[in-house]
Amino acid sequence: MIVPLVVDHLQRSFDSKRVLEDLCFQIESGTMYGLIGRNGAGKTTTIETIVGLARPDGGTIAIFGKPPRANRRSIGHAPQEIAVYPDLTARENIAFFADLYGDRNPRGRADAVLETIGLAGQNDALASVLSGGQRRLLNLGIALAHDPPLLILDEPTVGLDIEARDGVWRMMRDARARGTTILLTTHYLEEADRLCDRVGILVAGRIATEGTPQELKSALGYDTVITVASDDIEGTRSSLADHATTARIVDRTVEAGVLGQPAIDVVVGWLSGIRASAVSTRAVSLEDVYVSVSSR
């Protein structure tokens, strides 16, 4: 089977600043891949280079084995900035793009897409009167207009309330269930953790680490984070470092990573002997992976 997306040694500079440095990753068919990284890490540049809106300085991109510009029908792209016609209705916006791809029944296709993205009641509403969240959904809907096998979404849930975000998540899960391959950039790590089959962390223009969310979390070497608040932050951190896999100061607390119940018991036992104003535990998250990788 042809791999939907292969990014191979991609390089891109703006002026003298190297934004993408030997970027390599690929996405298997019917999976969702999350590209995460801090602002300015090169996520949007990566997306725009993949879809053909930016020219790479080096490296190659293959969409189902072909260069992006030779395979436009295979790509559905939802840019980070909302790009819709404000004076057209939701249906007309999607139908226009379906029409450009040669759909024989663009209005029917538009109605089906609006149903999929949860905007069925807004078919005849002008894009200009839709709420911010609805416009973002419409922005995504346009990417689905021609039912592409590869969907590329640049921070699709930024600025959405929980209800609208859940709608976008549902849409992405449904698309993947139908066999669509999805590349998603986000800086919401919970989003990547919940939705993505694989995650790549982009640091300084290259993939610093990659794997399933579970693999990435397992690779940290701890599965539980104990957060301790105390008056002597540095002393607590120093002592916890002797008992835990890792210990770091975050917002006037110490976060200690520990592996397994015996280790938790040891740390809790040690904590009972000091003056801690608050103690809490949580399971390790992708955020811990991100912090660990980006601070290397």
């Binding site: 703006f14 725009e48 879809v51 053909g52 809106l53 930016a54 020219r55 436009r72 029908r73 790509i75 792209h77 840019p79 900035e81 909302i82 790009a83 819709v84 016609y85 404000p86 004076d87 057209l88 007309e92 226009f96 793009f97 029409d99 450009l100 791809y101 040669g102 663009p106 002008l126 346009i142």
Partner: protein
Amino acid sequence: MIHASLACTRRLLLQLVRNRRELLFWFAFPAMMLVLFGTMYAAPAFAKNIPFDAIPPGILVGAALFFACLGGPATAVVAERQNGTFRRLLLTPPGPIAVVFGTLGTYVIVGAIQALIVYGLAIFFHGNMRFDYPLAILVLVLSIACYVAAGIACAAAFSRREGEILAPIAAFGVPLLCLSGTFFPVSIMPPFMQRFAEATPIYHMIRAMTAVTAHRATFVPIAGDVLYLTLFAAGATVLAALSYRSIAAAERV
């Protein structure tokens, strides 16, 4: 490409219908100009020099088509860049030529309605127009093609923001209109200005349009004008396609 061009035409027409004020201006403005100049030139001071049937071609080409078919596509392209949909269009299969032809299709319809309004009023007030319909349609379509292509080229050359495009069009366009015989016949201008006027496409549009709508001229007397306009339209279309590509290159960072 035809399918994509028609899709662009339908979308632009829908947007124009939604923005009724712009459309109303494009239809009301030439009507007002026709009534204004018709009344002025009917005054004794003008009556001997400027026959009424010389007025509608200038009003149609200068007051109507110029603002709608040159200003319209220019602002449409700039608005497209502003709201981000231009970049989306770049990712779709149709090439720039399909978008240029789609825009042309839209403004052929707008220009045709303007022509019906201007000549409808001219016939109502004057009743003595003598048309050669096929040639009138040919000159109309060529004139619109020249304007649309020039408008798209202007959009690439002048601006990224909607508000900025109208100033250069007005600054260069209105003097050109005056010089080309839109408001005053070229024959009353000094000889050196007449020679300059003859080099402009608007002069040839007005001259050909006057011949085929007022004097039922055959093709021969307007052959030079038609050739000029055809060459200008072809050149401007190539320039528009290249400009569109240059906008595309600018958008592809």
